[in-house]
């Protein structure tokens, strides 16, 4: 009973503090919302279209123009320059004006018409592998289709029907099924990863700030006294208002993800909500650990900030964890964000059974042990004046 009473007393004090200082409103509402809107707008198109490339046509024939046109007609590539030499193409690439050069050699048409094998080259810049992936795929498809057209003509000339010709030129056909995220939309997997990334930065900042500022301003003892010297109640009362505010904010975030960006929800919303709550609490827990150990507002903010920004790289969303060195794979486990992104891939995109997401929920829940371990240390720094006033 006493514990609840003390918690409530601190909670009341904390709500007063949150209302009095405008910085909390900025960190828990204004900036996170701005960042959500930013990413919603950024990924609104979802796919990149019309990336400029150059064509070096050394044949100047009907067929060479046809293959160039087929490349132009793909969604990703746009033939922005017709160039006269490779040197010119290289210069355009170094100037950042094009991302690929397609070279059609001399005698291209002549070789094809005389039934001799010919060739074609593409030089795709590897400095942006996202753009490279899109362009490589589309140029390859265009050239393959062009080749198939020629094959059909050759074969029908030999007296085959079109159907027979198709079976002849492509003895093995593949049926492609893209599971989950069938539109191969960047927005669908980048929005639900960047928005929680922004949230976690603000969770860490707010939590570290709200505790650290008690030390900086020397109000830590008063904070503890409000909880009748129960450090557990003091901490709980302090964290709860931010947990609630951040959870409400995450509901806004999920609404934007599902309704505005249009990410499908193939799994369980209940699991996503439970995971989101654990995600918030786990990052609050880590923040408590950092500020208790550092006992210094600015240093805790620097370390907490540094730690939170690293989460994205180690989540494996862009560069998969599977490909990392074993030591780095181990490091990826110390970020709750890693578990959270697994959870949303399973429950938003894949619609995996609930069992698959339980380990992720468990992983995040483990972080909640951290603040319990540092309660004695927190009591110590809140009562010793030598930890105060340092910024």
């Amino acid at each position: 009973m006493g514990f609840l009473h003390n918690t409530f007393a601190v909670l009341e004090r904390e709500v007063q503090r949150l209302r009095r200082q405008p910085i909390y409103g900025v960190l828990m509402l204004a900036l996170p919302l701005t960042s959500f809107i930013f990413f919603a707008i950024l990924f609104h198109k979802g796919v990149a279209r019309d990336i400029p490339i150059a064509v070096l046509d050394e044949d100047h024939s009907t067929l060479s123009r046809k293959v160039a046109q087929m490349i132009e007609d793909t969604p990703t590539a746009r033939v922005a320059y017709g160039i006269q030499s490779m040197t010119e193409g290289e210069r355009l690439m170094r100037e950042g004006r094009i991302s690929a050069i397609v070279q059609i050699p001399a005698f291209f048409e002549k070789n094809i018409l005389s039934n001799t094998q010919t060739h074609m080259e593409a030089y795709v810049s590897g400095t942006n592998i996202t753009v490279n992936g899109l362009l490589s795929k589309d140029i390859q498809t265009a050239v393959t289709m062009f080749g198939a057209g020629i094959q059909i003509q050759l074969l029908t000339k030999q007296g085959l029907t079109e159907r027979q010709a198709m079976a002849q030129l492509q003895p093995v056909r593949f049926d492609k099924h893209v599971l989950f995220n069938p539109y191969i939309n960047y927005g669908y997997y980048l929005s639900p990863s960047f928005m929680p990334m922004m949230m976690l930065i603000f969770i860490v900042m707010v939590t570290v700030f709200s505790i650290g500022t008690e030390l900086k301003n020397g109000t830590a003892r008063e904070w503890l006294r409000t909880a009748d010297d129960s450090v557990g109640a003091a901490l709980l009362g302090k964290l709860l208002p931010a947990t609630a505010a951040m959870f409400l904010l995450s509901l806004v975030m999920l609404t934007i993800i599902f309704k505005v960006v249009g990410v499908p929800l193939n799994g369980s919303l209940a699991l996503i909500l439970a995971g989101t709550l654990l995600f918030i609490v786990s990052y609050q827990s880590i923040s408590v650990l950092i500020v208790s150990l550092m006992a210094n507002l600015r240093l805790s903010l620097s370390i907490g900030g540094g730690y939170s920004v690293l989460a994205f790289t180690f989540s494996g969303l862009t560069f998969p964890i599977m490909a990392m060195y074993p030591a780095m794979r181990a490091v990826s486990k110390i970020f709750p964000f890693t578990y959270y992104t697994d959870l949303f891939v399973d429950q938003m995109l894949r619609g995996a059974p609930a069992v698959c997401s339980l380990p992720d929920l468990g992983g995040m829940a483990l972080f909640i042990v951290l603040p319990l371990l540092c309660l004695p240390r927190l009591r110590h720094i809140c009562t010793e004046e030598k930890f105060w006033g340092r910024s």
């Binding site: 900025v26 796919v47 039934n115 003895p171 099924h177 995220n181 700030f209 862009t318 060195y325």
Partner: protein, 406 residues
């Protein structure tokens, strides 16, 4: 003339005082040192280590082989032969494959129907079904590419053999099977290494962000404790704005010259990132880029009233700014107005110019547009920095006069 010399003399005196004071401030403040000096080194190392293997290989896939013939097995072997995938499981049906997939044991499924060999030998078209997962893009790309290439090669082989069997000679059969040999070359990053792609951009953004936050922290501290007047050398009543901005800028430039030297000379070699830029080009570019970043940072730093504000308010912008440079996410995929808005930040120009200089070996004239933009931004932000410092000094003086009067 005499007056002009006196003015120069006075500026020089002030400049020295400002620089000495700035070095003392930075090196006596652990928090500032952590951000201005160590953050660049720590982040460059942490990210590079995470991306160190550079490429994703051997993604596990599952193959459901209903045909169980030598023909189908040779197709399965071709999936193993490529570098990007290996057949980790042979589930018997789709249900089993699905479970393996949800357990993250496999990232793609190939289904070979029971009539596969029959159709191929009978001169008909066999159909193979591919199921791949687009929830992780790199996995999707590797699996799809490998499987499709293998199927294409197998098909071409079959077609070639059929033509030969019909009595065609080899060149004829080749010309029918593959009239156009297509070869794609990935230049500047031949193995499409992830670190090589993203690290130059990250390093440029880190330089700008650590300056913004670190210098903002110094500015916030000075305003919180009213320390700006300390810049004034003893025996002088007023401070000129120009020596303050110039002096502080030179100090930050000298610090980043050291850390960037480490990153570009040592770190780059350690992780084998491409170093195709001419030294002179890189030095000139970096000097201009840093000048623009420092000017922006000093201008912004005059807005912070408290020590911790720069970190609280600016940390989150790192990822959006990286996105706005159009590297991680292609600029053709974002609204034009948003991309244009990003041009007000030095990082957007810096990232693009740096990648082209250092990875592609571009010359100064080839990055002239970016350099020009950085110079313009540098001039504008320097102006704003001078105005900001001037206003802060005036306000602080007014506050102190007010206190003296009381």
């Amino acid at each position: 003339m005499n007056r002009f010399l006196r003015q120069i003399e006075s500026y020089w005196q002030q400049l020295r005082s400002v620089m000495g004071n700035e070095y003392r401030t930075i090196f006596s403040d652990g928090g500032v040192m952590l951000i201005l000096i160590f953050a660049l080194l720590i982040y460059a190392t942490a990210y590079s280590l995470a991306y160190a293997p550079q490429v994703l290989r051997n993604v596990p896939i599952g193959v459901i082989d209903q045909s169980q013939t030598s023909t189908s097995r040779s197709l399965v072997e071709s999936f193993n032969a490529g570098p990007n995938t290996y057949v980790a499981y042979n589930p018997t049906d789709m249900e089993e494959a699905k479970n393996l997939f949800f357990d993250r044991k496999i990232y793609g499924v190939v289904y070979i129907p029971s009539d596969y060999e029959e159709k191929l030998l009978g001169g008909q078209q066999a159909v193979v079904a591919i199921y791949c997962d687009a929830s992780y893009f790199l996995m999707y790309r590797q699996v799809f590419q490998e499987v499709v290439t293998s199927i294409g090669k197998t098909g071409a082989m079959v077609e070639f053999q059929r033509l030969i069997a019909k009595g065609a000679n080899i060149p004829q059969a080749q010309a029918v099977t593959q009239p156009v040999i297509y070869q794609a070359h990935n230049i500047f990053n031949p193995y499409l290494g992830y670190g090589t792609f993203v690290m130059p951009a990250i390093i440029m953004v880190i330089i700008q962000q650590t300056m913004l936050i670190g210098i903002g922290m110094i500015g916030g501290t000075w305003r919180e404790h009213g320390l700006y007047h300390k810049l004034c050398p003893p025996g002088r009543r007023r401070m000129s704005t120009l020596p303050i901005v110039l002096g502080r800028g030179l100090v930050y430039l000298s610090i980043y010259a050291v850390t960037c030297f480490y990153v570009l000379a040592l770190h780059y070699r350690l992780f084998h990132y491409p170093m195709n830029g001419a030294t002179g080009t890189i030095l000139l570019f970096l000097a201009i880029y840093m000048a623009a970043c420092i000017a922006l940072s000093i201008a912004v730093s005059t807005l912070f009233r408290y020590r911790e504000n720069s970190l609280l308010l600016l940390l989150w912008t790192s990822i959006p700014l990286l996105m706005l440079s159009g590297v991680s996410y292609p600029r053709e995929g974002m609204p034009d107005w948003l991309y244009n808005f990003g041009q007000i930040f030095p990082s957007s120009h810096g990232v693009n110019a740096f990648i082209r200089i250092q990875t592609m070996g571009a010359s100064l004239s080839e990055v002239f547009d970016e350099i020009k933009a950085l110079v313009i931004l540098g001039v504008i932000y320097s102006g704003l920095a001078c105005i900001g410092i001037h206003l802060v000094l005036k306000q602080e003086q007014a506050d102190r006069c007010g206190q003296d009067a009381e």
